[in-house]
Symmetry: D2
Subunit: 307 residues, 4 copies
Amino acid sequence: MAIVLGEHQYGKAENRIVRIYRDSPRHEIHDVNVSTALRGAFDPAHLTGDQGAVLPTDTQKQTAYSYAKEKGLTSIEPYGLTLAAHFVDDVEPVTGARIEIEEYEWERAVVDGADHDHTFVRKGQEVRTAAITVEGVGSSQTSHVIGGFKDLVLLKTTGSEFHGFLEDSYTVLEPTSDRIMATSLVAKWRFVMDEVGDPAAFDWEGVYLGIKRTMVGVFASLHSLALQQTLYEMGKAVLEQYPFLAEIRMSAPNKHHFLYDLSPFGLTNENEVFNADDRPYGLIQASVVRDDASAAGSAWTIAGGFA
Amino acid sequence: MAIVLGEHQYGKAENRIVRIYRDSPRHEIHDVNVSTALRGAFDPAHLTGDQGAVLPTDTQKQTAYSYAKEKGLTSIEPYGLTLAAHFVDDVEPVTGARIEIEEYEWERAVVDGADHDHTFVRKGQEVRTAAITVEGVGSSQTSHVIGGFKDLVLLKTTGSEFHGFLEDSYTVLEPTSDRIMATSLVAKWRFVMDEVGDPAAFDWEGVYLGIKRTMVGVFASLHSLALQQTLYEMGKAVLEQYPFLAEIRMSAPNKHHFLYDLSPFGLTNENEVFNADDRPYGLIQASVVRDDASAAGSAWTIAGGFA
Amino acid sequence: MAIVLGEHQYGKAENRIVRIYRDSPRHEIHDVNVSTALRGAFDPAHLTGDQGAVLPTDTQKQTAYSYAKEKGLTSIEPYGLTLAAHFVDDVEPVTGARIEIEEYEWERAVVDGADHDHTFVRKGQEVRTAAITVEGVGSSQTSHVIGGFKDLVLLKTTGSEFHGFLEDSYTVLEPTSDRIMATSLVAKWRFVMDEVGDPAAFDWEGVYLGIKRTMVGVFASLHSLALQQTLYEMGKAVLEQYPFLAEIRMSAPNKHHFLYDLSPFGLTNENEVFNADDRPYGLIQASVVRDDASAAGSAWTIAGGFA
Amino acid sequence: MAIVLGEHQYGKAENRIVRIYRDSPRHEIHDVNVSTALRGAFDPAHLTGDQGAVLPTDTQKQTAYSYAKEKGLTSIEPYGLTLAAHFVDDVEPVTGARIEIEEYEWERAVVDGADHDHTFVRKGQEVRTAAITVEGVGSSQTSHVIGGFKDLVLLKTTGSEFHGFLEDSYTVLEPTSDRIMATSLVAKWRFVMDEVGDPAAFDWEGVYLGIKRTMVGVFASLHSLALQQTLYEMGKAVLEQYPFLAEIRMSAPNKHHFLYDLSPFGLTNENEVFNADDRPYGLIQASVVRDDASAAGSAWTIAGGFA
């Protein structure tokens, strides 16, 4: 019975890279948070402190910034793929690389009714995300791309019910046929890379906007019997729309808005005044998958199960 | 030499009230965070524990929620005025009330190209603020209203210089004639209530949007020699536009975007790749005032100087 | 090619339960944050909105609070086991339950040199964690317990080197033979439940304190050639000490303290003045395992890979 | 009626300075967050963009780090005084300087029962604070020092009542004669600098610990009829103990712990199970002052009322 080193990875987290394109007076901005992680034969670093196989996290940082200039940084998915492939292809001990990216959106300032050329207002809505994994070299190399967003806060003031649920001796909740439904949605979708084809030619921006539009549309339009149902229909609509997606995973806090009791003050509260509660909150997590989808492999894996 | 009770106030902070108007199928939402504070003859509560003059903070909460229905909650400034006046007018020991409010904006979900009737996406941009103070009763009652916002994140990729500054033996900074200028702006403006007139008839929404539009416009258009200059011109433009404003105060972190050194990699970085740094940050605070403005009185006071 | 529901779970997150024992004048406090998640045959809720198999998240909350009284809440691991087993055993559609708990430690206030009976100061150091998974019923039921902590912030001012690393064309980092090493450690250890035996009789408190003491001791005592080496030795020492642990996983940000350049001011900085940087930061993740350990099964699984 | 520049200040916020003393094998650590702000004749920077009188915020940063070596950084109050006086005395356009400091405490790691020489664990309890203001030069120079802390989380499980309060038509709260009382205390005390004498010789560390000990003692020992009463007695005890303090200001959220209703499950909850609620919360703010105290001048002022 031996005690041995298990799974491990290391990298530089949260490189806050801002890339400006200023080829014309109408500048473009890309504002991202890039985390790198390398996997490979780094056992000596752990077992004896020998760093001979360890490319410093500082070097990973330098590379991430440099690639924003060398290779460009427009859509986050191909930027991440290029960076991940570099580490696996060019750094000998590295057998796998995972790049996680957050992107913060800016909109142009409006001045005298027109979009300004070089001034921006941070949009502040959802954060776009990507997680890219590249493993192996040469013809056996595999690449996984997961797109997504977090912190998309949605709310509908009617069109949501919750009743007919299972009851036991701890059940005191009253059923309702009209409530506020609100969530701060996290969604992650896995691309089938064979269908995507050349990452440099794929319409990453259009697909992102299309997925978001579809999900918001279903959330709004579906008369909901439960947040579970809404999530499933949102995911299904996205997969139906985009055949190059293998699956979508969603995590949705049920941000409770409790009807405030105004009866002590002689008032009837007809779904008009609510308390937006903080904790606890319901948390619904669900995935929708294409049943013949390619295997996910390490696409979702955070090495060693680290959260 | 005696030790005595000094300034004091108490209240209920961060009531998360959501008010829905559903008189027609096209619902409206107002999502606010209301904090109340009462000032008055509460010395016995401190000195002996006698609560006879203390209206519980729970009661203040109930009132804030109930008023959202009874009196309505559309613009935050008149809602706050009504609530503050109630505490001062109707609760005998109360001589002053301060109501602070944050408002979170939602935009309508777009479904099939049209704004949805009852589904909203949290906008996520700046948070609108208000601080209302009412003091005294009857004809000697005074009211102060401060409007404002926080967390408006602005950035311009050019049109900003910084040079010609004072140098001493600790100065190592290099001057620059082209840098990124970015801030997360806090602004607060004080209304001259005599000019505002009837709060129920005043265009609070239009004025708020106008102030924000003007400030963004100046930030974008002014070729800046320093963040100080930009702030002053933003404030001046707002006061010129709205004669019913007595003053405006701004607090602006200089969110540093440092040009990343790519020269070790044989690259020239022509203001294209930046590191968005976290800390430390410059912090510029300035006010612009009308020199004949009415006295601020307790408008800005956080009782006892509590921050 | 069909689109189908994939993995899913739901529950009530962040129930902030405070349990006071007041059987004697010397009160005890247990302050926890409990999240429940149920897995099972909830497909109809997603596919048609039928809630017949869904025990409301509100009911899960009521149960968590009630169990703090009915079953008691002292050590978080057996509390979580009891709660998880209840959902699986007593709620028909539930096939698996996962309970995640955070515990916030309080120490007794010291008054006149003595510990006070009923007044406490929040300790503010690391947060203790547990993740309990129970699956299946009757003789085929399996239980997994993961203990741990997060936010244990450690720093050593010497006794840490970093050199001899791999270099490529993006490497500019200088080697060092004396630096500050600091981290905010996350650790999670998996118990072999057969070795633990009766959860009601096991010394959960003593083991927790022993693991923490061992890890801090190794961090302090080991002359470190890399954070990787320190982590491995910390994990190994814990497994050597406690044979009932199958594995330990650690996630350790390298909280960089950069030597501040004082040379422009004619000063030599001999590892005396540092800038504590925020981002980016190195992130080292590693596990140490017993090579004959029982299978982890679903112990680490966050259903559907949801983070 | 002219529009003019009002109050203004500028500086570098949140310099995260870590100062190690390593004169012997037993190292010492001082971990602080320093913010500087300068006031003076900076009008041209605002009005025309002329920076000739503006010492860059970068220079302020360099000075803060350099002074940690040059002048030393042990107690935060004299460090802040020295830094503030430098800006006022040595930088011509500066007429006032305000230095705000937070300090994070570390305790020595315990290894084999003994305190370790160079390894520390972040204590995580309250954050110590200081705000130093120096104005004017030569014989007319005045200095103000405010010490304090924030985030000291205290809780007592009994010995706290709340009843006999004022009631109106919005009052639904029930009185109680036994409740949990908890707060996250902010306290700030103003030193009478004439009484302090030479800052280099004053026992800043002993006084800080004494104030904290006294406040915790009163919180624990006083049978409380209201948080107001507890605050007043805490402040009074501190002023009685230390004649060189002119006043103390406290801000105390009433962190509500609501008794959980277990009656639906046939259980009696005898102050054993509580829900620790997030928002809203009561907020009590009070000051205790020596009635013949020297004038506070600009000690509490955040220039221009900026929060």
